[in-house]
Subunit: 199 residues, 2 copies
DNA sequence: AGGACATCGAACCGATCGGTACCATCGAGG
DNA sequence: CCTCGATGGTACCGATCGGTTCGATGTCCT
């Protein structure tokens, strides 16, 4: 039956539902691991509805990645802000949040990086680059407030730790990865303020 | 024509040729970015030949990943060995080698990690985990010789830097990534020998 | 009341997928 | 010389892919 009796017709809500399901399924199964038919089935909508809202599978992928980037960036920003004024505390809070994410059942690495790796061409790589820019903005602020000699360099090193930790936690077991990355980040932060010690 | 005139029939060499081409093409285009027909065309063989040698596309993927893991592990081991007896020099040499790789045209991140991310199920993830085990073996030896309090923890932190650097160099631009990761690794190495410096 | 909009379900499209079968043709080894 | 294994080329298979279209049916807004 085309439209169930009693349902409230709400295009915006339909769109959100598709986006919600697609975010989950595309992450679990991979961009090429599920077809449009499967997506529609999981979302409980018809193909025509999906295409009316997103134009193409690529458009849907783009929308999910953009939404996820926004969500993750806000999440880390708030985690840092909630940790008080100390740069080291903020950095620790970021990696605590990440470590909690790694330990979640169903963690499969960073969805945005995964998407970019799966589709070499297309919007995913652009989204991933901008996503890392956002991380760098947050991290270089912390690095600068910590008195790092080169805040941008330190931020980039910590970004490497963040992305690497996600990969290692996903593919080599989560045990300790988040905590170890956290300690490494804090070590780099300390060393940046007081450079040459030995050697 | 079934068999070109003048070619020397050599199954082992045919297999090597397929493996060589597949290693390159699967890395460039992604596991799902090229079909068996395309692989055969690039390798200059027929489908029957490919299937006789590898049984399935999955079997070909497995063979390419295994060969690549062997090659990379040997490459890094030799880079470290060629750097002399000093642990810090060996670690620096590893990251120098990696930095050179990142800068190569056509660098697209670690092929083994990429494969594991693209196919959540299957042999790729197992191969990736064993690949990281090999890295850890090399790194923890260096860490132990450097006098690290916890060599395995330090090795894992450096592994995180290695994997993260590949991701960042691939998706966020290669400029400086290798060098920054190298400095971060050396900083961690120094800090591990002389832990508490500031609070 | 009535028209615009939203939706489902299904049929349909051409293309491509991984994989198999068959055959003509060649080199290699007895 | 003559068989046998390796190979290229081609056709073929069923399944699935992303995407389009159409009609029936319902809600929503005027």
């Amino acid at each position: 039956m085309p439209v169930d009796k009693g349902v409230t017709l709400d295009p915006a809500r339909t769109r959100e539902q598709i986006l919600l399901v697609a975010t989950e399924v595309l992450y679990e199964e991979g961009l090429d691991g599920v077809g449009v038919v499967g997506l529609c089935a999981r979302a409980g909508v018809s193909k025509e509805t999906l295409y009316r809202h997103f134009g193409s599978k690529e458009g849907l992928v783009r929308a999910t990645l953009q939404a996820r980037s926004d969500r993750v960036a806000r999440w880390l920003r708030e985690a840092a802000a909630a940790a008080g004024p100390e740069p080291a505390d903020q950095l620790g809070a970021i990696f605590d949040a990440l470590a909690g994410w790694y330990a979640e059942p169903g963690f499969r690495g960073c969805a945005i990086v995964n998407a970019a790796v799966q589709h070499h061409e297309g919007a995913a790589r652009e989204t991933a680059a901008r996503h890392m820019d956002r991380h760098l903005e947050l991290l270089s602020g912390i690095a600068a407030r910590a008195g790092a000699a080169e805040p941008d360099v330190l931020a980039r090193q910590i970004l490497v730790l963040m992305e690497g930790a996600a990969v290692v936690a996903d593919l080599h077991g989560v045990a300790g990865t988040g905590r170890q990355a956290r300690e490494a980040a804090l070590t780099l932060l300390r060393a940046s303020a007081a450079p040459a010690s030995g050697g």
